[in-house]
Amino acid sequence: MNNSKKFIHLYSKSLLSLGLLLIFILSLFSINWEDKLIHSGGKATLAQISRAIFSPDFSGEILHLSFISTWRTLVYAVAGISLAIIIAFIFGVLSSGILFKNKTTKKIFMHIFRRILGFMRSIHELIWAWLFVAALGLTPFSAIFALAIPYGGTLGRIFSDMLKDVSNKPIEALDSSGASNFQILFYGYLPMVKLDMISYTMYRFECAVRSSAIMSFIGLGGLGYQIQLSLADLAYNEVWTFIFFLVSLVIFIDLWSNILRNILIKDNNKSSIFGLNFKKLSFLLILTLLISSWWFIFKIEGADIFSFFSEKNYYYTKKFLSELIGIGRDDIAYLNLFHWKNALVLTLQTLNMSILAIGFSTIGMLITVIPVARNISDGSLGRTAKWYNRILFSIIRFIYIFSRAVPELIWAMIVIFVFKPGILPGAIALALHNFGILGKLSAEAIEGIDARPIKNLSTSGANSPEQLFYGIIPDIMKKFITYIIYRWEVILRTTIIVGFVGAGGLGHQFKLSMSYFHYTEITLILVCYILLVWFADILSDKMREIIK
């Protein structure tokens, strides 16, 4: 290897971080900071909204409404995720290729089903929802399928990866004992990946609750819907009440899945809550949720699976698709150079927004992450524990969980009250949501540090900053960059959503075109969006390769 190559290889992580920092700084220039970015009354509104946090409306009427809305949000999340699990299981098994012995069949199946899963998850649930509603109108199943399809895509991909990563030895043993491929699936693969599957599904369930809340945007009732109504009434105290309910629901699921995971890992059957076996309790809770949710959807919401798959809906779908393609029209947007130019500008804006968003959340994370890592907070890694560490730890941890429990779209609805429409409020909303996730992941990365090399640096005479630069940063840099890239991918997929409420980019145009029934423009926007997501996938794969 020649010298310059060696240098690049050696400092790949530093160089990549430097490059990413430069891109972020460049993206800052895209905003005209001279302009008035805040509404004339924006500061006062911000103050009002902030004050309202401390005086949420807990009157009987609002509480009653909160409970009903929380229930509805939960019901749709449960329905969506249960359907997603079925989709994910079937498609995931097929795309993992473990059912096929013949190499060519295996390859073909894996390829086809990976593509299908990829397509399902590349379109955000709200876009699916909007497409369903535009084609078929608002029925319970529009919302449920809108959730189930992208969630099925993500879960299916993860299930498939888990199955592929299963250790070979036990599988070969089963194979040589004459078990069929189906038997191997149930006796070999599934028992080995069960734990990971459950714990990842629980995490996605938490996300599904957030997604279910923002289905309000297509008119589905629930917490998101109430937040939207109260915001329109400028009743910020009510807004926070509903948000607190959403946050509590998310925290409850988060805690529950953490406890369940720990019990399953330790294979501890004796853990109990209020004298009841926790594993059994969880199982009963899941069963109750499933039955009551589906009962609610069929009985109270009047969902009808047969009318959803009726001939009438088939006709509407065909009509909607032909409108998207623009059959029989002469002003087809995706064949028009002017429209393309316009769409590409918006695509760039969207990209820009995603970079700003990840930049802001990274800055927020870097400022807050040190005091919230348990091993630093309690003084076991380097710094001595101070009395204020515990307080700081709790406050920031709470901010993390709060910021991530509120979906991007709801942050955007609030931010847009303060900032003028454009990519800045979109980026801020995305950053507010992702900062909590990034912070949590990064704190866990610091907690995972091997303390031995750091202790040894201290024995070699290194002081705290030296331990930071020689021991801690080299250890966590790779993980941090990986998380940042991963969150950037997610953010890019979501930029289109925050655009709906006036945060610029492709999403904003999507909403406008939808309301003017310019369906061929929708097609063009979706093409640009999918291209962008695809480009992000390739780029992030490349970056991951660099830091490997």
Partner: protein
């Protein structure tokens, strides 16, 4: 040669949550001695070394390093010139290139600014190259440490110790996770480096064979007490049998 006491411990005990790890140990160590600590797991070898390296404090008793009480060394930078430690191969920062892991031995000399600058432009590079040459790894200067084998990592840790240049070298099971050829390789390197520079070396070992081959004084610990403390030439097979057979009896109780 003038004998000089570099370490002396007086009646030290250490308890962990009420359990005695060491009880009332006293002995002296002269400058330049090569000492092996033997005894089965849990006999207190690592605890003793951790007390010498000032990682933990004894519950009772005093530790004198080169004429000064161990707690009188206020700065770990000064202490690092007296005492250096090498453990199993988990000493190194895996993500750093070899050169920076070696130069970490220099942190006791450098200012913070110089230390951080060195991550960009390696300082005292010739020193790093010299010590890597001594351990036979000069071609790995810019290799990522995680790419090295266990034995190579251990030699990098030795190179760091050479750069740090402490008067006393502590080694805690330095060859525990290495295969026999590499163990022999690393141990003889460690001992010959210590001999050349007249350093005091205290190593804990599982293997009595290595202890007898490379060291001139052997201290055997059992249940936190000294079982014997003898020049290597006075160690007899029956002594060793006692050490381990008694242990079995203990375990059967």
């Amino acid at each position: 040669m003038l004998k000089k006491e570099i370490i002396s411990i007086n009646n030290i005990s250490k308890e962990f949550k009420g359990k005695k790890a060491l009880s009332s140990l006293s002995f002296n160590i002269q400058k330049g001695e090569l000492i092996a600590l033997i005894g089965s797991s849990g006999s207190g070898k690592t605890t003793l070394l951790n007390i010498f390296s000032s990682s933990i404090d004894p519950t009772q008793g005093e530790v004198i390093i080169d004429g000064k009480g161990i707690n009188e060394y206020k700065s770990n930078k000064v202490f690092a010139k007296k005492v250096g430690m090498i453990r199993q191969q988990f000493d190194l920062v895996e993500e750093l290139p070899v050169i920076h892991n070696v130069l970490a031995g220099r942190l006791s000399q450098w200012s913070t600014t110089k230390s951080i600058l060195s991550l960009l432009i390696p300082q005292d590079k010739t020193l790093a190259i010299k010590s890597l040459k001594r351990v036979g790894l000069e071609d790995k200067l810019y290799e990522k440490t995680s790419n090295l084998s266990g034995g190579q990592k251990q030699r990098v840790a030795l190179a760091r110790l050479l750069v740090q240049n402490p008067e006393i070298v502590l080694a805690d099971e330095p060859v525990a996770s290495l295969d026999p050829t590499r163990s022999e390789d690393v141990l003889s390197l460690l001992v010959s480096l210590a001999k050349e520079e007249n350093k005091t070396l205290i190593t804990s070992l599982h293997s009595v064979k290595y202890a007898k081959k490379h060291f001139n004084r052997i201290i055997a610990l059992r249940n936190g007490k000294i079982f014997f403390d003898l020049p290597t030439k006075d160690i007899t097979e029956s002594r060793l049998e006692d050490l381990y057979s008694l242990q079995e009896l203990d375990n059967n109780e």
